[in-house]
């Protein structure tokens, strides 16, 4: 399973790199779709169908909105004059990547190997989840019973996002009721 995941993640990295460098914005979007749908197959292979359903639907809606944005504006990337000092750019990126890899290698040492994590809290959930919540789907039982605050926070995040979009995208001010 790890080899399949590695191949999928390699494809996703290639897609993301192509999306960064594509001249045509529509093909950049399609390459970005590789990332999203590859993530769906990763979730299915890791046995998380709940997440896979959410990811595939949200990815499709996002792709539709982004394609509409690209078709209504220009398909060419707007050229900007970048800083031409290439040596400085490369040195800065290498230093930052090396720093991140060092921190990452330092941080993953106390972790267990992949698929062999410790089960102190999860053991109770998997054994007693169906009895104490009454839900046959353990994920929903955890989301709405043990971790109710989590779900409330997620719903609040969506609410805030909608509120922000509606507030920002108002082109005309509201008419005053007095006049």
């Amino acid at each position: 399973m790890e080899t399949l995941l590695s191949i999928l993640i390699g494809f996703m990295i290639i897609g993301a790199l192509y999306a960064l460098h594509a001249k045509d914005l529509l093909s950049a979007l399609i390459a970005q779709g590789i990332v999203g749908y590859g993530l769906v197959i990763c979730f299915l292979n890791l046995r998380a169908p709940d997440l896979a359903i959410v990811q595939i639907v949200v990815e499709t809606i996002t792709l539709v909105v982004m394609v509409a944005v690209v078709l209504n504006s220009s398909r060419k990337e707007v050229k900007e004059s970048w800083n031409r000092n290439k040596i400085l750019n490369i040195v800065t990126s290498v230093i930052i990547v090396g720093f991140l890899v060092y921190i990452f290698a330092f941080m993953i040492q106390p972790l267990q190997p992949f698929g062999d994590h410790s089960m102190r809290m999860a053991q109770y959930y998997t054994q007693m989840g169906a009895e104490s919540t009454g839900a046959a789907n353990l994920v929903t039982g955890v989301l709405f019973d043990f971790r109710g605050y989590d779900t409330l926070g997620e719903a609040t995040i969506l609410f805030t996002a909608a509120l922000g979009v509606v507030t920002i995208l108002r082109s005309k001010p509201k008419k005053e009721s007095a006049s």
Binding site: D50, I53, G134, T140, L152, A155, F159, A162
Partner: protein, 145 residues
């Protein structure tokens, strides 16, 4: 906003009912099969977005619809909070307490308040995604005109 061609409209007519039914199935069976409020709400919102994109609509009716979706979204989130708050006064007095009888594991009507939470979270997610989409469409129409 203009609609699309006759082929797209016909396929949308045939498919949208199935999409809505699948979304409602995912929401109501959230405590039995994979899925739940978030997934089902996103599917229902996708069905509405498909209808709006295929058939097109006028700005005035879109704005009316946006008002209704934002009201639905706020009301659904408020009902979720009130349901959670009811746990403070029933049973063992804990926020997000599961105070209804749990029933047989695997039945459709079981798991106490979890299906009710699922339904209202699904309404909230569908209305929120639809509000975002409608706000973008209305902004585009107003700027273009």
């Amino acid at each position: 906003m203009n609609g699309m061609t006759q082929i797209v409209k016909k396929v949308t007519q045939l498919m949208s009912g199935l999409i809505f039914m699948y979304g409602l199935y995912i929401i109501t069976h959230g405590h039995l099969t994979p899925g739940g409020g978030f997934a089902g709400g996103a599917i229902v919102a996708g069905g509405f977005i498909l209808l709006i994109l295929a058939f097109g609509s006028k700005v005035i009716s879109l704005r009316k619809e946006e008002t209704q979706t934002s009201i639905t979204e706020s009301a659904a989130l408020l009902i979720v909070i009130l349901l959670a708050l009811a746990g403070l006064f029933l049973g063992v007095h804990v926020f997000f307490n599961n105070y209804l009888p749990q029933g047989q594991v695997g039945e459709l009507i079981s798991a106490g308040v979890i299906p009710i939470y699922n339904i209202f979270i699904g309404m909230e997610v569908a209305a929120a995604l639809l509000t975002i989409f409608l706000a973008l469409v209305i902004y585009k129409e107003e700027v273009a005109s």
